[in-house]
């Protein structure tokens, strides 16, 4: 496996950082301290603890760290302790206090106490480490500094995911700390073949992005592709995996996501076991997984923990509800405008009666209700938890009822819109529900102009687009098209484990067995 660790992160192309990288650490501690204070604008959280000679005031050494990012207790305990005992004065100059002659000894002692101590030679590296939470030890008389990894800050605990809930199965969700997330994945896959590579992306955020894959299962071409694309990113900041998703995805102009994201470690681990590559980003609980297929967006991790028959039926239900969510309003518009003869007579009469007082054509009705619903839904997301849920769906029904009574829309329309809305929530993946919501309007327009014919042609256009998508080299619609019978066991339904023997084709050893039966 080739690792390209010699590639400089593109964040260093920033002129400011270029200059910093080139600057060396001065041999006089005071000069360095002055530079630090100047560069950081005397920020309050930059803590400088110098060790001075009592009489002359020369700074012999200094410990610098950022308050809030480092473990100040450990600094006191270990660093100062060691530094204190390492200080010597020269015989010929009792005014001088330094630790130079015993530098090696001092370093070794610090190593014992802290577990990691390294030299830093360039100012750029010093800043990078300092701002990541490490403590920097400046020493007078030498042109390097030491850095100690004693990071500690307040992060969110590993809790249950709020966006992707499950009834059965692990509830842990990723947090904002990279190391916590990678450790969650390590706990799921305790195999030395789970490899990590970290890349720094973002000129100012210097975000650590880790690629994780199982060596031997993941296809090398995909890994290289991911690595190349990530290394090519030159952006000011990366605050969430969404930034990366937009920059590395294949189909930039498509509504559909070709990169999967999840907050759940078990979902990501399952995909790692299938030979996919995960991208974990520091600072966000959303991890990305590539390559991906359309069917993955319809699967929820829970499908794999419940019984096969139950999971299969639920999946079928989900496919059905996606159709409803996408097409129900358009079908209503098409049938009431162009194809009234398709309704049974009694339904036709009651619908006609309802639409009697309504001044608008079906399309406008549907449009108004759908837009109202989208507004309410978006508003519900922003409201405080307590009332947010109620506002979305119930609010639509109530407003709908009022609209019906006012004669602006027909009652059937309210029902259509509500069922459509609720169907949208069955999709486990939020990134897939967005294209569905947007396309719903396109289909409504198609139905209003060409009726059923328009809906069918619209479906063709949609399918054509989906079939043309590729995700990191793999067709997005696999395994439905190109059809691959062996892979189909996990797409529309989930075959029980005792029937599923082969690894999926996304992995290198696709086709070889992953369950061995014991007789």
């Amino acid at each position: 496996m080739h690792r390209n660790s010699n590639v400089q992160p593109r964040s260093n192309e920033d002129p400011y950082w270029k200059e910093l990288e080139a600057a060396a650490i001065h041999s006089t501690a005071e000069v360095n301290l002055a530079r630090l204070k100047r560069d950081m604008g005397d920020s309050d959280d930059l803590v400088i603890r110098p060790i001075r000679h009592p009489k002359s005031g020369n700074t012999a050494a200094a410990v610098v760290y950022i308050d809030g990012l480092s473990d100040s207790a450990a600094i006191n305990l270990y660093i100062f302790d060691v530094l204190g005992t390492s200080l010597v004065s020269r015989e010929d100059d009792p005014e001088w206090i330094g630790i130079q002659p015993n530098l090696e000894e001092a370093a070794k002692e610090l190593l014992v106490g802290l577990g990691s101590i390294e030299r830093v030679h360039q100012l750029g590296d010093l800043y990078r480490n300092l701002l990541s939470g490490e403590a920097v030890i400046l020493i007078d008389g030498v042109s390097f500094a030491y850095r100690a990894d004693i990071r500690k800050w307040k992060g969110r605990e590993v809790t249950e995911s709020t966006n992707q809930t499950s009834v059965r199965g692990p509830r842990e969700s990723f947090t904002e700390t990279l190391r916590v997330n990678t450790s969650l994945l390590r706990r799921k896959i305790k195999d030395p073949r789970l490899w990590l590579e970290t890349i720094e992306i973002g000129r100012m955020t210097k975000t650590q992005v880790t690629i994780m894959y199982v060596n031997g299962l993941a296809k090398p071409a995909v890994i290289t592709n991911v690595r190349t694309r990530l290394q090519a990113i030159d952006i000011d900041g990366v605050l969430d995996s969404g930034y990366l998703e937009e920059l590395i995805e294949d189909a930039k102009y498509s509504l559909f996501p070709t990169v999967y994201n999840s907050e759940l470690p078990d979902a990501v681990a399952a995909q790692l076991l299938e030979g996919k590559v995960a991208i974990v980003v520091d600072g966000t609980p959303n991890a990305l997984v590539v390559p991906t297929e359309l069917s993955v967006f319809f699967q929820s991790a829970e499908d794999y923990y419940q019984r096969a028959i139950y999971a299969s039926l639920l999946r079928l239900l989900r496919f059905g509800t996606v159709f409803i969510s996408l097409l129900f309003p358009s079908l209503y518009i098409a049938i009431t405008t162009f194809h009234r003869e398709m309704l049974p007579a009694s339904l036709l009469f009651s619908l006609a009666a309802q639409r009697e007082g309504v001044p608008f054509p079906a399309f406008v009705e549907a449009l108004v209700m759908e837009v109202t619903f989208e507004i309410l839904r978006e508003a519900g997301l922003r409201m405080p938890r307590a009332i947010g849920q109620a506002v979305s769906v119930v609010g639509t029904l109530v407003i709908g009822q009022a609209a019906v009574e006012a004669g602006i829309v027909s009652a059937a329309m309210v029902i259509v819109v509500s069922i459509t809305a609720i169907s949208t929530f069955t999709l486990p993946s939020y990134s897939m529900s967005i294209p569905v919501r947007i396309l719903r309007f396109a289909f409504m327009a198609a139905a209003a102009t060409y009726g059923l014919f328009g809906i069918i042609l619209g479906l063709f256009v949609l399918l054509l687009h989906l079939c043309s998508l590729r995700s990191f080299g793999e067709p997005f619609m696999a395994p439905l098209a190109p059809y691959n019978a062996a892979e189909m066991e996990d797409t529309i339904i989930r075959m029980p484990r005792w029937l599923s023997f082969k690894r999926p084709n996304t992995s290198l050893s696709g086709g070889s067995s992953r369950i061995r039966r014991r007789r």
């Binding site: 162009f338 194809h339 003869e341 398709m342 049974p344 060409y450 009726g451 059923l452 014919f453 328009g454 069918i456 042609l457 063709f460 256009v461 399918l463 054509l464 687009h465 079939c467 043309s468 067709p475 619609m477 439905l480 098209a481 190109p482 059809y483």
Partner: protein
């Protein structure tokens, strides 16, 4: 989105495209045409056509196997018959595809304006249909082949649905008396069936060079023809048994009437949307294949390196001629019934046989000289 020949489709996709193309417009107009000659023996006409169709399939397979190494159908004809001869043959083939596409678009627009979308102007219907065809072409053969793989199961399910729920209404005595007027009417009825259904599938030759792999195409082609023919025979049989020969003859689109007769438990009625969906899929694919063959084909004799920019102009021309060729349904049907089988015979069989002759001769003389790597 599309330079030429690098796109590859799998054998399975190839087969599905053939089946969808076979059913094409036949599913809608075949019952009427066969019934007008053979009446209650329409299904026998269809079976005769089926048998002859398999032979035609063999003929096509012979050619298809030999042009697999070429970049495209027209390129193959130019290799084999020389740049001028091959180019001329190529133009004839393109002309064939063009005219067949016109016939399909005509039928589609007639159906739409008379049955489903009666209030929409015919130009708008053709326009939007062609727009999607153009889009499919521009996405490339790989993509629309994949879409075919997706739509095919849906098609089969709807087909099965149609058959199963109509069986209660099927009556065997409508098939009687069998062959009451002799064999001639049956054969008469099968002529049109053969030409529209099977002969027009010469368009599969335009796809053959794009099929991946190197195993023979004979079995796939024949099995697709078999399945397509079977499905159509079932449709015609069902039409006779459920509607009876009178209704078949008089109604323009018997299969549509079939769908209208679908009832499930007395409450789900008028499910013609179902057959419309099925039928739009097959007509779309057949039109797409013909359009693809025509546009991809026309660039070759002209020695153009790209063909994408021709898509819209060609579509405009097609649309105009579709409108002019359908001043009235009766005139269209008249012209079609009298001259179309001859047209198909010439262009779908005779012209390709020139190509086949050339290929066979080349094989004897040239050995490995004619296959491009």
């Amino acid at each position: 989105m599309n330079p030429y020949a690098n796109k590859k489709i799998t054998v399975r996709q190839f087969q599905i495209l053939i089946i969808l193309g076979l059913i094409g417009d036949a599913i809608l107009i075949m019952p009427t045409i066969t019934a007008s000659s053979a009446r209650q023996d329409a299904w026998l006409s269809m079976l005769v056509a089926y048998a002859v169709g398999m032979l035609i399939g063999v003929f096509f397979a012979l050619i298809a196997n030999r042009i697999r190494q070429s970049e495209s159908l027209i390129a193959a004809s130019r290799e084999v018959l020389g740049p001028w001869g091959g180019g001329f043959v190529g133009l004839l083939l393109v002309f064939n595809f063009f005219m067949c596409a016109l016939s399909l678009l005509s039928e589609m627009s007639q159906f739409m304006t008379t049955q489903l979308m009666t209030e929409t102007p015919v130009n708008a219907i053709i326009f939007v249909f062609l727009a999607v065809v153009i889009l499919a072409f521009r996405y490339g053969v790989e993509v629309f082949a994949r879409m075919g793989e997706l739509l095919f199961p849906a098609f089969l399910v709807l087909f099965a649905f149609l058959v199963v729920f109509l069986l209660p209404q099927a009556e065997g005595d409508r098939l009687m008396p069998v062959a009451s007027e002799g064999v001639l009417p049956i054969l008469n009825g099968s002529v049109m069936a053969i030409s529209i259904t099977f002969m027009e599938m010469v368009v599969l030759l335009a796809l053959a060079p794009h099929v991946s792999g190197s195993r023979g195409l004979t079995k796939p082609i024949l099995s697709s023809f078999a399945i397509g023919g079977l499905l159509l025979s079932i449709v015609v049989l069902l039409c006779v048994m459920v509607l009876g020969p009178n209704l078949m003859e008089t109604k323009l689109y018997p299969t549509f009437v079939l769908a209208q007769k679908l009832t499930i438990g007395n409450f789900l009625e008028r499910m013609e949307a179902i057959i419309a969906f099925m039928w739009i899929i097959t007509v779309f694919y057949k039109t797409l294949l013909l359009y693809y063959a025509a546009v991809a084909g026309i660039a070759q004799p002209l020695k153009l390196k790209e063909n994408v920019m021709l898509t819209i102009p060609m579509a405009m021309i097609m649309m105009v001629f579709t409108v002019t060729s359908t001043p009235s349904i009766t005139e269209y049907s008249y012209l079609l019934e009298r001259y179309y089988p001859w047209f198909d015979l010439t262009f779908c069989l005779l012209v390709p046989s020139l190509l086949l002759a050339g290929l066979l001769v080349k094989k004897k003389h040239g050995g490995n000289a004619d296959s491009k790597p």
